[in-house]
Subunit: 445 residues, 2 copies
Amino acid sequence: MQSAEIIAIGTEILLGQITDTNSRFLSEELARLGINCFFHTTVGDNPERIISCLKRAVSRSDIVITSGGLGPTADDLTMECIASAFGSELKTDEAVLVELKEFFAGRGYKMPPSNYKQAMRPVGANILPNPRGTAPGIIWRLDRAKLIADGLISGQGQENGASFSTGTSTIITFPGVPHELRAMWKETLAGFLSEQVVGETIYSVELKHIGIGESSLAEKYATLLEGKNPTVAPYAGRGECRLRVTAKASSREEAENLVKPVVNQILSESGSLCYGRDDDSLESVVGDLLRRSKLTVALAESCTGGLVSKRLTDVPGASDYVGLNLVTYSNEAKLKELQVPAAVLDGEGAVSEACARAMAQGVRRKTGADIGLSITGIAGPGGGSEEKPVGLVYLGIDSGQGTDTKELRLGNKSSRSEIRYRTANESLNLLRLYLLERQEKTFEN
Amino acid sequence: MQSAEIIAIGTEILLGQITDTNSRFLSEELARLGINCFFHTTVGDNPERIISCLKRAVSRSDIVITSGGLGPTADDLTMECIASAFGSELKTDEAVLVELKEFFAGRGYKMPPSNYKQAMRPVGANILPNPRGTAPGIIWRLDRAKLIADGLISGQGQENGASFSTGTSTIITFPGVPHELRAMWKETLAGFLSEQVVGETIYSVELKHIGIGESSLAEKYATLLEGKNPTVAPYAGRGECRLRVTAKASSREEAENLVKPVVNQILSESGSLCYGRDDDSLESVVGDLLRRSKLTVALAESCTGGLVSKRLTDVPGASDYVGLNLVTYSNEAKLKELQVPAAVLDGEGAVSEACARAMAQGVRRKTGADIGLSITGIAGPGGGSEEKPVGLVYLGIDSGQGTDTKELRLGNKSSRSEIRYRTANESLNLLRLYLLERQEKTFEN
C-alpha cells in the first residue's frame, strides 16, 4: 500500500493567523483513495527548513503533497526549494507563461513582472494545471536511488517501518488557496492518483444519516462493515452520522457496480434515517422536497433566533418555498403575531408543548403557508430551572390537517451555540419526515 | 529568542476525520508570548513514528508542545513514547491517582481500570494539572547534552539555522480535547511559560476594527508599527481587521503600563473604526450599546434570510433588546407585513434604496421597537442583472426621527455565504454607528 505525507508551507499558519484546512481535505481524499497518510508537517517561508522537510518526506513517503508557497511574491519559495532539494534547476514553462499572460489579458491588463516566476518549474517536473488561479502546480516522480547516489537524501528513511532507500517518490504541489486546491484535486489529480499511482479506480458514496448514533449505525450494519470491497465505514458528524461505501476496481464502471448494491441495501434498510448522500445537506434535501411537492413553509422561531430561517435560505432558490418567517423572541410577539393564547403563556409558559403547538398553528394561519414550523426552548446558558432545564426545546409542525410536536432534551452541559445548532437540525429533520410521510400518502391515494 | 514546535498526535487527524484546531490556538498563543514556532507536525498513533518525531523536535526546538494521546485507551501512547524516547520509565504519580479516583467518585462511580494509566508520568517530569478532564499533562525540561551523550538524540539539529547540541528543551503535553487544552493553557501554562521559559511577562490587547482595510490601517499607524516594546501588528480577519498591541516586561503591571498609552492613542485616533477589543464581537458590542441605552431593535431581513437575527441572538440575554424580527423574503411579505408601497416594489424593485427605507420604517412601526433595521439585496448566485448585479445590497435604519440607508456592492464573484456574512457585518455596524451617534447627542444635550 502506498504511503503519503502532506507539507503545508506558510508562516501565517505557524503564527496561528489561519487554520490549515487543506491538510484535512487532502487527508480525507487520500483515505478515500485507500492511501495511508503518515505525517502532516507545517513549515514557514524559510528555504532551509522547507528543504529539510522536503528531503525527509521524499526519503520516507511514496507520495509527498505540498500546499502553499506558489504565489508571485518573494516569500513564495516552494518551487525554488524543490528544485534545490532535488538537484534540479528552475526553467520557464513556455506554455504556462502563455496561459498566464492570457489570464491577465482576459481581465484587461498586462501581467505584472512578479508573476513571471509562476511559470517556472524544476526541469524534469510535469505541470499540474490550475483551472481557478494563476499558480499551476507540478507532479514530479523522483528516483530515490539516484537522489541517494547524488548525496541529496540520506537513504535512512526508516520511519514508516520499512526501508525506503529504493523506489520512487512522487511530489505534487498545490497552491494554498483552499478553493483552488480543491478544484485542482477534483478536476485533475484524483483521477491521476487513483489510476497512475494507486493503479486502481476508487469510487465512493457517502450516505448521511440523522436520528441514529454512530455505534447503533455500526451495529445495524455490522456485517457490511466487515466487507473488503466495497468497504463500509461509519463517521460521526455534528449531530449526524455518515456511512461511506468505497470500492476499488480497474475501471470506474466496475467500481460503481460494486458500490451500487450495497448503497441500495443501506437505503432500503435505513429508510428515513438516511437523509441524503455526498453533498446533500438537511436544508437542501428539505428544499427539494418542498419544491417537488409545491408546498411552502413558514417558521416561528424563538430560541433559535433566526438560525433555522438562515439555514433554509442558505440554499439558492429558497424563495420558491419561503415567503415570510418570524422570530418571535418575546412573549408579546408570540401573543400578538401568532395568537398564542395568554392562558398558555401564563400557564404552561413559552417553553411548552402547548406553546409550540399554538406557534405552529399561528404562523401557518398568519402567513397562509402550507406548513407552519415552530421552535421554542431554552438555549442557555441562563434561564434554566429544575423543571425546565437548559436544553429543553419543543418543536411544532402544523399543516392545517393536524399538529405534531416534539420534545428535545439537549443537555444542560452543551453550549448555547451547540444547543441552537442541534435544535435547527432537529427542526429541519422534523419537517423532512413530515414531507416524506405526506409524499407517501399522496402516492397511496 | 526561544523557538517552539507543536506535535499533534492522533490517527483521526491523518484520516481527515477532524481538523486540528489545537495547533492554530497554540501557535497564536506562542506568537502572543513572542516565541517563534517553526514547525507543526501531525503523527498517528504509532509508537515508532511518534518517537522519531519527538526526538527530532527535542533536538531542534527549545519548547516542544504535544496535543493528544493522553486518554485511557490502548492507542493513547504519548506518555509511553516520551518515556521511551528520552530514556526514562513510566511511574504512577500517587497524587494524580488520588485526584483521578476523586474525579470518578464525584460522578458516583468507581474508576475503570483503564484510567490507571492516566496517572503515569515519565520519572523526572512534572505534572501539568488538567482542571477540566481526567488526563493531566507533563512539563519536562530535558538536557540535550545528556541525551546526546546517552545516544538518544543525534545532536545534528541544524534546521533552525543554529546548532542545538547544547542547552535544554522543554516538552509539554496536552490532551487533544480542545476545551481542556485551552483551559490548561490559560489557567496554568501561559503564566509559567512567560515567566519561567521566556523570562518575561507578556501582555497584549487586540483592537478590532471595521470599515478600514489592513493596508490602510497599517499606513495610518506606520509609526506605531515600528515600535519595539510595545509592538503593534495588524491582522486581517473576515470583513474586519485587528491591531494587536503587545508589551514585554518583568511584571504584569509594567507590561500593562507599556500597552495602555498606545491602546489609548489608537482608540482616540481610530474613533468609531474600532468596534471593540479582545473577545468582543460586533453582535456583543451592539447588544451592550442597546442595553445601556435601553433601546430595542427590530429587523426586516430579506437576502440575509435570518442571519442577522441569528447573530444578534447568539448573545445570551438578547431578549433585553430583541422582541420580534421578520424575514420578509417575498415581495408579498414586504407589502403586507411592512407596508412597503406596491409602487416601490413595482417601480424601483425589492432591491432598492426606496424599498430598504420603507422596510426599516415598516418594521419599526409594526413592532413598536425603537429602531427598525432592514436588509434587502441579491445574495446570488442567480438573480443578478447588469443594472442590479449579485452583491448589490441596500440597508435601511429608521428611528422614527429619520431614516438612513446604505448601498453595498460586495462583488459578483463572492459566494452566496460570503455576501450574506459581509452584509450581516455591515448591518450590525450600521446599527452600532447609529447607536454611538445617538449616545453622543444624548451627552451633548
